[in-house]
């Protein structure tokens, strides 16, 4: 960027990070990503990184409000025979929901690509959820998808892991939130000794089912828990296929307290499946 500030469109400017922006940036990231974290996390990830420079953070601002953010991190990639490749990585890109569909992401993307190229990076990396808008945009604009070494996880508390995974998935998918409204008081999830209701996942206070005969319990085995980590990155077809497979293998069981509950679940469950 040749000048520190550029006017993108009516009242929207792009500028670099300055001290005092942290809380507003984190508010934006929490709005766009759900539970992103706190100011200490942002400071730890970016300003404290050894190669950090204030010009590596791009801010979109409208009337004093931060409405967009992207950080870049510069580092050397080392090959197995010790050759070094200077690279950059984009991180935590966000545009405020109210300002989407105005081409701001595309403009920000263009500016940041230009800036990292000017600093001498020969490769740029991003991390995206497969199928997301940014993933599709990157695919169209010359990015290729790479494999990376796998990560491993050990679940210590399966109940909390399931609850957190479901809550994250439901709260980031408005369609499934809406379709769960009809079942919210009657739908329960359980794993081992832990049980919680759909109402709790929706962030509302727990309630007893209106009638005891309308209760539906989805009982998880521990083995499909890792499905939760892949669920957001899978296509709808993959999600439905894995759920059906898990049901057929008995890894997930559904218990109905009455025939009425079964009938209601079939009627409303189709909507939930369609919104997956």
């Amino acid at each position: 960027m040749s000048s520190p500030k550029q006017v993108l469109s009516d009242n929207i400017i792009v500028r670099h990070y300055k001290n005092g922006d942290e809380a507003k940036i984190v508010d934006l990231l929490n709005l766009c990503y759900g539970e992103w974290g706190e100011v200490a996390k942002w400071q730890g990830l970016f300003p404290r990184y050894p190669t950090f420079n204030k010009n590596d953070v791009f801010i979109l601002e409208s009337n004093g409000e931060i409405i967009g953010h992207r950080s870049s991190r510069f580092r050397h990639l080392i090959t197995p025979d010790n050759r070094s490749i200077f690279t950059a990585q984009f991180a935590d890109t966000a545009v405020h929901p109210k300002y989407r569909r105005f081409g701001l992401y595309t403009r920000l993307h263009g500016l940041t690509l230009h800036a990292v190229r000017a600093k001498g990076a020969c490769l740029i990396f991003t991390t995206n959820l497969r199928g997301s808008t940014t993933y599709k945009h990157n695919k169209k604009t010359g990015f290729i998808e790479l494999g990376w070494a796998p990560a491993y996880a050990k679940i210590i508390n399966p109940g909390k892991f399931l609850r957190s995974g479901l809550s994250d998935f439901i709260n980031k998918n408005q369609k499934i939130r809406d379709s769960l409204q009809d079942l919210r008081n009657n739908l329960f999830f359980s794993i081992g000794k832990t049980e919680f209701s759909a109402v709790e996942l929706l962030g509302e206070p727990a309630q007893q089912p209106k009638t005891s005969g309308s209760r539906v319990s989805i009982i998880f085995d521990e083995s499909p828990l890792f499905l939760m980590t892949k669920f957001r990155t899978s296509s709808r077809l993959q999600r439905i296929a894995s759920l059906v497979l898990l049901l057929l293998c008995g890894r997930i069981r559904i218990k109905f307290s009455s025939f009425k509950a079964l009938a209601k679940f079939i009627r409303k469950g189709v909507r939930v499946l369609a919104s997956l």
């Binding site: 200490a40 070494a149 491993y152 210590i156």
Partner: protein, 237 residues
């Protein structure tokens, strides 16, 4: 320890500054940094960062590196005990790929939450890094190749001692072998996503004179970087 480990994967550079940064990473306490020692030398390092996502308390082993499998195994066990003692809900780690992980990670689950994407910004430094190796200088010395990659023209001259890579002049390359491809194809070749023969047959890779094709295809098969890309959790932003 880091300098003495021969990595078999692509990885981000580690120096004192980066290690100091990782030991002060958000959520890292002094009691969450573990060192493995053998014969009075450091044989491994694990750093655990405690984070909270909503209700879920995670113990992320943001850095794990070891010289040998026993050191890795004891570091992972110690880190897991630490997470259990802190009543965390889940422990995550991206272990180095060069060691045998089967025994250490039995009972753990592999997972993938997102994908890494990469775009070529400037072909010249990448070509320099890819071609500057002894396998190429020994076998292909005396060759002069001009690469047309997107809008960049890059001239590569291979000598017995080194590979000279420079921005080329498109008017002065009649004597050289010309190779045309997009930035995506160069990356796909480098990261082993496609191979030179497939790229040539699908016309993603064009070679000026057909008689040079066998040589160029063989040369391009040697620029492949060892994958996978190793990203410790502390490197993932």
């Amino acid at each position: 320890m880091y300098n003495s480990i021969s990595n078999k994967s692509l990885h981000y550079a580690r120096d004192e500054q980066v290690l100091r940064y990782l030991t002060h990473y958000p959520g890292v306490n002094e009691d969450g940094i573990f060192i493995a020692e053998g014969n009075q030398e450091i044989t491994g390092l694990a750093i655990v960062a405690i984070t909270q996502l909503g209700e879920l308390r995670q113990g992320n082993i943001i850095e794990l590196q070891a010289k040998d499998a026993p050191s890795l195994d004891s570091l992972v066990r110690t880190a897991l005990n630490y997470c259990e003692d802190k009543y965390l809900d889940v422990t995550m780690v991206a272990p180095p790929v060069r060691l045998d992980l089967e025994k250490t990670f039995s009972g753990w689950r592999k997972f993938e939450t997102s994908v890494t994407m990469c775009k070529l910004l400037s072909a010249l430094p990448l070509i320099k890094a890819l071609f500057d190796n002894k396998g190429i200088t020994n076998s292909y010395s005396g060759k002069r190749i001009v690469f047309y990659i997107g809008s960049e023209t890059i001239e590569v001259e291979i000598t017995p001692e080194s590979v000279r890579v420079a921005k080329g002049n498109s008017n002065d390359n009649k004597a050289a072998i010309s190779v045309t491809m997009s930035g995506e194809v160069l990356l796909a070749l480098a990261f082993g996503i496609t191979n030179s023969y497939r790229a040539f047959l699908t016309r993603q890779l064009r070679i000026g004179r057909l008689r040079d094709a066998p040589f160029i295809l063989k040369l391009l098969s040697k620029i492949k970087l060892n994958m996978p890309l190793f990203l410790a959790l502390g490197d993932r932003v």
